[in-house]
């Protein structure tokens, strides 16, 4: 198996706040979880951006993540709202948990951390084994836009600015490098979390890099087929519209027989 670069998740408290603005997909995941006819597992649950509100909605859900710091953060957040979620420190390519689930989800492009076909198939097969008969797997991936394919590698783009959760001082999430390996289908990115001091001067910089493997539409269909899912469907967004443009988000559902 490929080793994972987890530097993206090195500062769970900052990660949590840096992506807290991203809420548009949460109602979709809660609705899917509520519609499931049994327990739900979220693979790549991180600090609980989706899992905590899902539990608050009364769903019987568990989480799985590779990163201990992220899970600690999740437990802290859950405890603050009176919840004690069952979470598993495990790799989505190779895990064993006791229950079988009606629904397994991989939100927020977590599947794109798997960089090779073999890793993708391992994860899909492992998740399939943890589904009840008739259960479903739901995951989302970005479609690789033509614009992204041809963009220059060096960029300096402030993605988001927010206040540090402990000090209240400003922090910026900045993309500094982004490069697409077109035939290997991997996006290599480097980002920085830049802290400031009380007078507005530059403070600590947390640099992290990550790689995301993109997958084309029919390739994903073949992966699901090869992993033993006989039936699948793709949508072009969380609103359920058809996949038509390369700027659409791919939202996949695959069913176990």
């Amino acid at each position: 198996m490929e080793t994972q670069d987890l530097s993206q998740y090195i500062e769970p408290a900052l990660y949590d706040v840096a992506y807290a603005w991203h809420t548009a997909d949460i109602p979709f995941w809660i609705t899917r979880a509520q519609q499931a006819a049994g327990p739900v597992l979220e693979a790549g649950c991180g600090t609980g951006r989706v899992l905590v509100p899902t539990l608050q909605a009364g769903v019987d859900a568990e989480g799985l993540d590779l990163h201990p710091g992220m899970l600690e953060m999740l437990k802290k957040k859950a405890a603050a709202v009176g919840l004690a979620p069952r979470v598993h420190l495990a790799d989505m390519r190779d895990f064993t948990v006791p229950r079988r689930f009606a629904l397994i989800t991989v939100p927020f492009r977590g599947f794109m951390h798997l960089l090779t076909t073999e890793d993708q198939l391992r994860a899909l097969r492992c998740m399939r084994e943890h589904l009840e008969p008739g259960g479903s797997l739901v995951l989302n991936l970005f479609y690789p836009t033509l614009e992204r394919m041809v963009e220059p590698g060096e960029v300096e783009r402030v993605e988001h600015e927010f206040d540090h959760p402990e000090t209240g001082l400003p922090v910026a999430l900045v993309t500094v490098r982004r490069e697409s390996d077109r035939v290997r289908q991997v996006l290599h990115a480097e980002m920085e979390l830049r802290e400031s001091d009380a007078r507005g001067y530059a403070g600590a910089v947390h640099r992290h890099r990550f790689s995301l493997r993109w997958t084309y539409r029919f390739e994903m269909e073949l992966l699901l087929k090869a992993a033993g899912f006989p039936r699948c469907e793709v949508r072009g967004g969380f609103d359920g519209r058809p996949l038509e443009r390369d700027t659409d988000e791919m939202v996949w559902t695959a069913w176990k027989d």
Binding site: T117, V150, R182, V183, Q185, Y216, F218, R245, D246, D248
Partner: protein, 263 residues
Amino acid sequence: MRPEASTTAAPSPYEAPELYDQLFESLDFDRHFWLEVGRGCNGPVLDLGCGTGRVLIPLLEAGVDADGVDLSPAMLDRLRAKAAKQDFHPRLLAADMRDFTLPRLYARVLCAFNAFAHCETLEDQLATLRCCREHLAPGGALVLHISYPGTALWLGAGGEPVLEHETTRPASGHRLQIYDRRFLDRVNQSQRSEIEVREMDSRGGIVTSHRFETRQRWVYRYELELLLRLAGFARWEIQGDFDGAPLERDDQQMIAWGWREPA
């Protein structure tokens, strides 16, 4: 980027084999590669989508025991006539690449010059690959060439006529020009081309205009590997261009090798 609805039902270029030959017969960018593949395998070879024999006739000339399959009887008629002039009488079958049956097994099945892009759905692709695999002797290989659908392809999606190829008709001395209007759908990996072949006299006046339409479905590298896996090939390898180098850039040609399990 969705293709416009087809307004005219233009024929396939394979319904005009003589014109097709005059346009493409001289293309030899891949001939050396296919000759190497055919000569190096110590067994019979099947050329799938052989057309008028641009690759198959040179294989026969090189002493390779080669048969051909093509969907178009008109293309095969022309191939047969050309081969007969050199006293070659290859076994030729007019059949669909998704479902053909020949009485023997081959050391190599060749699928040249984007013929595989005629498979427009995942089911078509898998049926074709399975059929190829069934016609391979144990340890034999399918060798397939398809252009990588790189950014240059998708950026050229304007639907403007582009001069793609130009040649001279020997008998009349007329110029032949192929103009291609491409309609591309990136998400569905499909291309529809409206092709116009203009035949022009020495003063540049248009003598005739032939219109055709083609459809293609493009595949990416890992997608092609998964197709070979699901079609039951024992192992596979993707190369870039015709010199056996790894595929590293999206402007390279994709050569896929898929091996059947040895005996």
